[in-house]
Point group: none
Chain length 377, copies 2
DNA sequence: CTCTGAGTAC
DNA sequence: GTACTCAGAG
């Protein structure tokens, strides 16, 4: 049987919000390591992979591997009945025909239990080959969402090109064509959070810093001014100041997102790692609408703690080789719904192979794979 | 003629928001006791009863009983022209073909007057039998709203069962079944306000006093712990003390909700009553979410003052006998719109008789009656 | 007092 | 599904 206790129902709610439009039914594969879901989208064009690590649960027990065939629409309805801060307990018996969700209010004076019928789903689970991507772009998830939403108003697809110059998103539409260039955020003098990759960055990734987001990041005391040419400087500035207390991330290097990718970009991962100090709290609160910035610190914070922060800001571009690929914007817009799960998104690209869009959060990750369009389709 | 001055137009606005979806036209029956409205909903399934007590007005005069036939849609439009804190004066001449609404800004620098045509409505006013209900559940109105909204996503109807365990709401739906259990809030050490009902409670109602509400009731200095199990005495206690200045209701006992129900739970009514002293103001602001307790004492402040709070928290369950009834969620969701009128809602149930959902507020009350579903309809 | 989020209505 | 209104939080 399965009995998994999640500290906050909000995680599951956001996860379902992120994938319910893409996939109708899916198997939640539960085993001693945690819960994994992998599914093709309804039109069999994109692939979604979600992992909730056993360590991300308040308590977790799964005696034997079991696939729970869930209708995501039903699960979404059931999850709407949970308050964000409810304790959420998932239970299934070995016959796996019912998934029970129990929500317990903080004060325990209210306990709600929902039983959802499960279904048999043949999982054609495809293995995902490990790929050494030629380029990786790490950016605030809200910024990625903004870009694809903006461009989707003009055209159907976007060409993403990563070059020494940075990463460029091109769209051609009837009304207008558009292209957005993101340059790597300049490493701030010091404290910059996103700074560059540490040593491992092999290639020639460049990191200028463009963004002019408002950022509120957490940069520390350092101050960087960025006025270089156009954009950006202010973005950084502001961030600099805010960070008073944080101690920042620097050291964490590898912990973060190493799972799939490997050596190639491994070094960068650290960003996610940073932990905040204890007191943090600081100002990180606002991430709202600023274009790029955010601050929120919450994202990854480490896989294990409950909440995590990340470096809220900045764009990092790492590349081994120039890549130029075209994707359907419709899917990317859907992927971007995961912004509520992490402040950071990573785009992994190699010519002629599917794009990987990855969001890491405290309890696990959600990854999307999308094959490039070929020719002018 | 009628001339009634209401301290805040907001009360009327909220009242109309609460019933305008349920009823299209209704008679406002005005007499020397106040204004009363009673109407079946458009599909003749539910009954709404609203009472604005004469004492709840800043000034009130009604020379002779007169029914004012109002189109609630029109009245809603007119009320949207008032600011929440405007003084609102209702006037009608004896021929009752026009209702005049005058809004006066706090500082009197703005006076608006609207005249609305009235209509003849045959009121088939049914008497509402006094019922001694077998169970009464008192809970935060927002929580009730949340529960019925949640469950309405899963199914069409809800079975409400009150037992020694607490109150449980069950729904069966295609996607999932759900049940929510509310246990009586644990009585807090002393001060617990809710105490029990006073003497009148005839049956074997039990009143634990669980509530941990913050109650701010008005309990005075006394402290009651209410733990005995059942009964009531405290109910009276509390009211007794509170009354400092207000003339109020104490005496009014009957005033409260007695209309329909009576003896059964009458005692409890007082809760609503308590007034606060003058200084109130106090902290009453927060009644929000604390689970159960909080201390805040402010609550009701009195009917007359502008706002009333109630004990902001906690769930109280009183029952003479196990009840188990099924209702249409659609109506309950509509009833729950009255949450803006009171922080507290009471559900009165007896097997095979209509459910009474009651919201008491400083100036009066709004009550909904809904017949249970029979069998598996 | 302003902003953000949720709920309700069209 | 989109827009508007109301309520709660910062």
């Amino acid at each position: 049987m399965l009995e998994a206790k999640l500290a906050e129902a909000a995680i599951l709610k956001r996860l379902l919000d992120a994938i319910k439009e893409l996939v109708a039914d899916a198997n939640f594969e539960c085993n001693e390591e945690g819960i994994h879901l992998q599914a093709m989208d309804n039109s069999h064009v994109a692939l979604v992979s979600v992992k909730l690590d056993e360590s991300g649960f308040k308590s977790y027990r799964c005696d034997r591997p079991m696939p729970l065939g869930v209708n995501l629409n039903s699960l979404t309805k059931v999850l709407k009945c949970a308050k964000d801060d409810d304790l959420c307990i998932l239970k299934a018996t070995d016959d796996a025909d019912i998934l029970s969700l129990t929500y317990e209010a903080r004060n325990s004076d209210r306990i709600a239990e929902y039983d959802m019928k499960l279904m048999d789903i043949d999982s054609d689970k495809l293995g995902i080959p490990d790929t050494d991507y030629d380029a990786r772009v790490t950016m605030p998830s809200v910024e990625f969402g903004r870009i694809v939403r903006d461009l989707s108003q003009l055209g159907e697809s976007v060409r993403i090109e990563v070059s020494k110059e940075g990463v460029r998103f091109f769209t051609e539409g009837e009304a207008a064509n558009g292209n957005i260039l993101l340059k790597q955020t300049e490493a701030v003098g010091k404290v910059t959070t996103n700074g560059s990759a540490s040593g491992s960055q092999k290639k020639k990734a460049k990191k200028e810093d463009g963004e002019d987001n408002d950022d509120d990041d957490d940069v520390q005391e350092v101050e960087k001014d960025g006025d270089e040419e156009d954009e950006d400087e202010d973005g950084d500035k502001k961030k600099v100041k805010k960070e008073k207390k944080k101690k920042v991330k620097k050291e964490g290097e590898d912990v973060e997102m190493d799972d799939d990718e490997d050596a190639e970009f491994k070094a960068d991962e650290e960003e996610g790692e940073e932990e905040v100090d204890d007191e943090e709290e600081s100002s990180s609160k606002k991430r709202k609408r600023a274009p790029a910035k955010d601050t929120k610190k919450k994202s990854k914070k480490a896989k294990k703690s409950d909440d995590d922060d990340e470096l809220p800001e900045g764009i990092r571009i790492e590349m081994n080789q120039h890549v130029n690929l075209t994707f359907s914007l419709k899917y990317l817009v859907n992927f971007a719904k995961s912004s509520s799960l992490s402040n950071i998104v990573q785009l992994m690209l190699s010519n002629d192979v599917p794009l990987l869009v990855s969001y890491e959060f405290g309890q696990g990750h959600i990854r999307y794979y999308l094959a490039p369009k070929i020719g002018d389709e």
